[in-house]
Structure formats: structure tokens, C-alpha cells
Amino acid sequence: MSESRADRDRALQRLRRSTTVVLAGAGALVAAFAALAAKALPGHHAAPAARPQAASKAPRATPPALVPVQSAATPAAPASPPVQSQAPPVVVSGGT
């Protein structure tokens, strides 16, 4: 009787050890996959969004629609670059 109790205790001990090992392994795997996913899918940097404003009686604008870029080539080059001139100037371009 006491022998079978000792067997049962040993079996329970083995079971506890196995459970601990399995849980620790699962935790390590979760951490590893989380790190992998974070590296592969970095997401977006938070834009400097407007701070929440105090409640205003005026209605909030419809969802923001920042202006579209008309052309990826802006600022655009001139059709013809300036050329050297010997003519008397009609205007001065300088700092203001």
C-alpha cells in the first residue's frame, strides 16, 4: 500500500516537472514569435497627431483629407533653364 503511494507521488512529481517544462517552453516560443513578428511588421510611426482639443461647440470637420500631391515631380524644373544675359536687367532677384 505504502509502495503504491510512493509510486503515485513519484508520478505526480514527474507530471509537475513536465508541466513546468511545457509551460516554460511555450512562454519562450510566444516571446520568440512576438519578437519575430515585431521585426517583420514594424507598423507605423505615430504621426504628430493633433492633441485632443477641448470640447468645442463648433462641429468637427469631416475626416481630414490632406491635399493630394499633384505631381511627384514637384518642385518642377523649368521648361528652359535661364541663360546668361548681357542685357540690362529689368529687376533684381535677391533676398527679401
Partner: protein
């Protein structure tokens, strides 16, 4: 024949191809500049922009001209990756540029102390073009100085050309040409100061179209104690830019594009490469006087 007059806190210059229509061309230019001033001035109590800057974060419906100016400013910000940013208004004001420049220039710098603040960034601006509705967060102040002046120049040149066949309009050093061009182009002297006499030493280039802008820190300066400050605020620091350049002149398809490029280039140590990559003819003069030209800007050999 060149006609000049004061406008937008600086000097406007009009040259009409058809001299007989010069008066009409000037009137058209004045109408455009007045409209821009009413929409975009930071210093007129009755301007739309002042109303926006005082909106306390509430949405504001804006008129078509301010909407266009905002569109242009945001496009310039995007194209320059934020180097030309319309949300520098507060940084400019606290640094001392809080009134028309004539007032700022007359201030006693020895008793004035500038304060500096971060620039919130153009992405904080919410603009719904369908409803002409603008919202900026409370505390954000817009300054459209660079792009709105250039836009005024482009619009005014188009208006003048519509009545005179072709025209050149200069506004504080920004130049725009529209319509027909004289056979040899429009001759323009390049200098540090737009108010310099026409015979000031410097190269003359002929513009065949588009626009030309020059950015420089040699002119619009004031003092905080012993420290000289200028109006070209670097959005990355919120302070007047510490540039390796003294003067940057850029030619582009429009005056707006030229102004965005010259202002952005001013902030960049590697401005020649930045301009070359965009094929923008430019002339850069460093603070120690060394001159660099890129992308087909004409050489200055005799």
C-alpha cells in the same frame, strides 16, 4: 518700362511686354496682391489667416484663395519633406517676427529677447478641400509667407500677361514670368538683396519662362540682444536656420516651385545634390562667399 510699388510688405515690380497695356497690367497685379494680402497676411487683423490662427482648434471654413494657398503650402511641405513648413508661425512670432518687418526692424534689439519653440509640423493641419474646411490644433499658428508670396507672384504674372500679352512680376526678389517672352528672355540681376540697384554687382540671367526665387539671410534680420536672427526658420529646430549658405537662387517651372526649392535648399548642407537630383538650375553662395552652380545654371564667365 518697369513699374514698382509697395505691396505685401515688400516691393512689387511689373514689366509688361506691351508697354501700352502697362497700366492695365499693373492694376491686374495690384488686385491679385491685395486679394492675397486679405487672405494670407499674418499681420492684418482682418485677414482670413489671422482668423484661422485664432480659431482655438475649431474648424474654419476658408475662402477659395486661402484654400489654394494652403494647398500650395502643403504641397510644398510634402515636396520638401517638411523643410518648408507652414506651421512655423508661432516659432517665427516668438523669435521676434511678430509684426510687419518694418516694425520688427525698428525694434531695439538690445532690449528684446527671443524665445524659441518646436514646430508642430504640417501633418497637424487638417484640410478638407471638398468643404473648404481647415482645422489646426489649438496653439498652432500658420505662416504662409514663403509660398503665398510666390503664389501671389505666379497669379499676378498670369493676370498681367492676360492683358499685356506677356509680363514679368517681381515680388520681394521672387520672380514669375507669364505669356509671351521677349526674344532674349527677361533679364534678371542676381544679388543678395532684392532691393539693390539694378547695377549692383552680380550676374544677369535671362528667364525664358517659369519662376525664379532667391532665399537669403542677409536682408530680413533682427537682433535678440547681440544675437542676429533671420526669418528662415528651420522646422527641425524651431530656430532660424544655421545654414552654410548665404544666398540660394533657384529657377523652376513656377515661382512657387522655385521658392519651395530655394527655401528647402537653404536648410540643407548637401543642397547642390538635392537640387541637381531635381534638375533645378540653381546658384548657391556659401557664407564664406564660395559660389556653386548646378543643373544648367549659366556660368558667369565673361
Amino acid at each position: 518700362m518697369t513699374v514698382s510699388f509697395r505691396a505685401l510688405g515688400t516691393t512689387a515690380v511689373v514689366v509688361a511686354l506691351d508697354a501700352a497695356r502697362e497700366g492695365e497690367a499693373c492694376a491686374a497685379v495690384e488686385r491679385e496682391l491685395d486679394a492675397i494680402d486679405r487672405a494670407c497676411s499674418r499681420f492684418r487683423a482682418d485677414s482670413e489667416l489671422v482668423r484661422v490662427n485664432r480659431s482655438g482648434g475649431a474648424p474654419v471654413v476658408v475662402g477659395p484663395l486661402l484654400l489654394e494657398a494652403l494647398h500650395v503650402a502643403l504641397e510644398g511641405a510634402r515636396a520638401s519633406e517638411g523643410l518648408v513648413d507652414p506651421t512655423v508661425g508661432r516659432a517665427l512670432r516668438t523669435a521676434g517676427y511678430d509684426a510687419t518687418f518694418r516694425v520688427v526692424a525698428e525694434r531695439d534689439g538690445s532690449t528684446f529677447r527671443a524665445a524659441f519653440c518646436t514646430v508642430p509640423g504640417w501633418r497637424t493641419i487638417e484640410l478638407d478641400e471638398r468643404t473648404s474646411t481647415l482645422r489646426i490644433p489649438s496653439g498652432v499658428e500658420l505662416d504662409l509667407g514663403a509660398t503665398a508670396k510666390a503664389l501671389a507672384c505666379d497669379r499676378a504674372a498670369a493676370a498681367a500677361a492676360a492683358v499685356a500679352g506677356g509680363a514679368l512680376v517681381g515680388l520681394g526678389g521672387d520672380i514669375s514670368v507669364a505669356g509671351e517672352v521677349p526674344a532674349e528672355g527677361w533679364p534678371v540681376r542676381i544679388a543678395d538683396d532684392h532691393a539693390a540697384a539694378l547695377d549692383v554687382p552680380g550676374p544677369t540671367v535671362a528667364l525664358l519662362g517659369g519662376g525664379l526665387a532667391t532665399s537669403s539671410t542677409t536682408v530680413r534680420r533682427w537682433y535678440s540682444g547681440d544675437t542676429p536672427l533671420h526669418h528662415l526658420v528651420d522646422p527641425r529646430t524651431g530656430r532660424p536656420a544655421e545654414s552654410r549658405w548665404r544666398t540660394v537662387s533657384v529657377a523652376a517651372a513656377t515661382c512657387v516651385d522655385a521658392n519651395v526649392a530655394s527655401t528647402a535648399a537653404f536648410m540643407l548642407d548637401d543642397a547642390p545634390a538635392w537640387l541637381e537630383a531635381r534638375r533645378l538650375p540653381a546658384r548657391l553662395v556659401s557664407v564664406d562667399g564660395e559660389m556653386t552652380t548646378v543643373a544648367g545654371w549659366p556660368s558667369e564667365g565673361r
